[in-house]
């Protein structure tokens, strides 16, 4: 029941926003996240934005991933098992 999906905010109209994911658009309530802005990625649950996706942290994941990948490659080259 706590399933929630990421969507992107297209437009804001008072306490609701038009959000889009995979070409599907729907209105969602933004009363819990009054500072959302057009272009934000948001998490939707039961018709509400419950939180914004933090682009910084999302980038951190990518960075952590790159790092992990580099370490794995190093490990392959040097045989050191401390890659991950």
């Amino acid at each position: 029941m706590c399933l929630a999906i990421p969507m992107t905010v297209k437009r804001i109209e008072g306490t609701r926003a038009l959000a889009e994911a995979y070409g599907v658009e729907k209105y969602v309530d933004i009363v819990m996240t009054p500072d959302v802005a057009v272009g934000d990625k948001v998490i939707i649950h039961a018709g509400f934005v419950i939180e914004r996706l933090d682009p910084e942290s999302a980038r951190e994941i990518e960075a952590a991933w790159d790092e992990y990948h580099r370490a794995m490659n190093d490990e392959k080259e040097t045989g050191r098992p401390d890659g991950a």
Partner: protein, 355 residues
């Protein structure tokens, strides 16, 4: 991140060597399903067991709640609005689906606001929304009540069965019936409550936890982190879903939730009464309280003979340990809620083939 990367990560995860066998619990029902659906459960390293916890709101809702909803509909003729997950759940003697066949008015909604709009559009009928859910869902239900007040929609009410998750985890730890070495903590509950409310598990019980997201990447990294914390005896709670979960959660959502609701003892299937683990409408919102507005005396609740949902929700058994699993109990013909709810452990094991 592409599929090759994930495969590589999965390989590394599978070859993780554990110092000893570990038992970790996933508290969230959505995680139960996602561990299967993403295939992460198939690449668990040897010696690591994932046990299901009390994290499916539909499953932990005891029969007496649904018995009351049905009795109210029968006696007072109200229309029942509900999330779809509740429709086929067996009550003590019936189910909403069975009652619908007998003439009960049922409105399945995606959002509590849809139930409110339905009430607004049909002023001649009473609409009772089944307010079930954890901290993720409660604020959405609180907003529906606030809007009903603002818009003076008098034919809308909720039957409050909301529950709070940290007290349930504490109750399991206090009962000490099964060994749990650490917790994969719910991502979207934590988006509302933050990381702080979980620290007691690490601080007072020596059980580390990691808040996790729902993609394969999230599940693997959170589980790996949890294994490392347990092995290093580092009793902390970490946030593995920082792109959504802030350490302090969403204060605005909590403010809304606690404006409308207050904490109260609540009855959990299989666990019993847990102090301050549920929500009830505050007196100021009593007008919208279906418990008060529609007095009924439902027949005494009874359990489904042979169903072991209660043991399952306490982490004592796996779904496949239930004698009815896959034979007398299937999603089409469910004996207990754990087989009905899309995030119930029995339904997940059935759908994805078990282990």
């Amino acid at each position: 991140m592409n599929n090759d990367n994930i495969r590589e990560l999965a390989d590394a995860f599978r070859s993780l060597r554990l110092k000893r066998d570990l038992r970790i619990m996933e508290v969230c029902g959505t995680h139960t399903t996602e561990f299967f659906r993403t295939g992460v459960r198939d690449v668990f390293p040897e010696g690591l067991a994932l046990i299901d916890g009390p994290g499916c709101p539909v499953c932990v809702t005891p029969n007496d709640y649904l018995d009351r909803a049905i009795e109210i509909a029968r006696v007072h003729g109200v229309t029942v609005a509900t999330f779809g997950d509740m429709v086929k759940v067996p009550s003590s003697y019936s189910s909403l689906a069975a009652e619908k066949a007998q003439g009960l008015h049922l409105e399945v909604v995606y959002s509590p606001l849809d139930a409110l709009e339905f009430a607004a559009a049909n002023p001649g009928i009473e609409v009772m929304f089944l307010s079930v859910g954890f901290e993720t869902t409660a604020p959405t239900e609180a907003v529906a009540v606030q809007r009903a007040r603002e818009r003076n929609i008098g034919n809308f009410s909720i039957l409050c069965g909301n529950k709070l998750t940290p007290p349930a985890v504490k109750a399991l730890l206090d009962a000490g019936e099964t060994r749990i070495d650490g917790f994969i903590l719910p991502g979207h509950v934590s988006a509302i409550i933050g990381v702080e409310p979980w620290r007691f598990a690490a601080d007072s019980y020596g059980k580390p936890g990691v808040v996790a997201g729902f993609e394969a990447y999230d599940l693997i990294t959170a589980t790996t982190t949890l294994v490392r914390l347990i092995e290093a005896k580092r009793y902390v709670v970490e946030n593995g879903y920082a792109r959504v979960v802030r350490d302090r959660g969403n204060p605005k959502a909590r403010e809304i939730m606690y404006t409308v609701f207050e904490e109260r003892d609540a009855h959990w299937r299989g666990i019993g009464i847990i102090p301050d683990s549920g929500l009830a409408l505050r007196d100021a919102y009593a007008d919208f309280d279906a418990w008060l507005r529609f007095p009924v005396e439902p027949p005494p609740a009874r359990e489904h003979p042979g169903c072991r949902c209660g043991d399952l929700l306490r982490g004592l058994i796996l779904p496949t340990d239930c004698g009815l699993f896959g034979t007398a109990c299937t999603p089409e013909n469910a004996v207990g809620p754990c087989m009905v709810s899309s995030e119930g452990p029995c339904s997940a094991y059935y759908k994805y083939g078990g282990l």
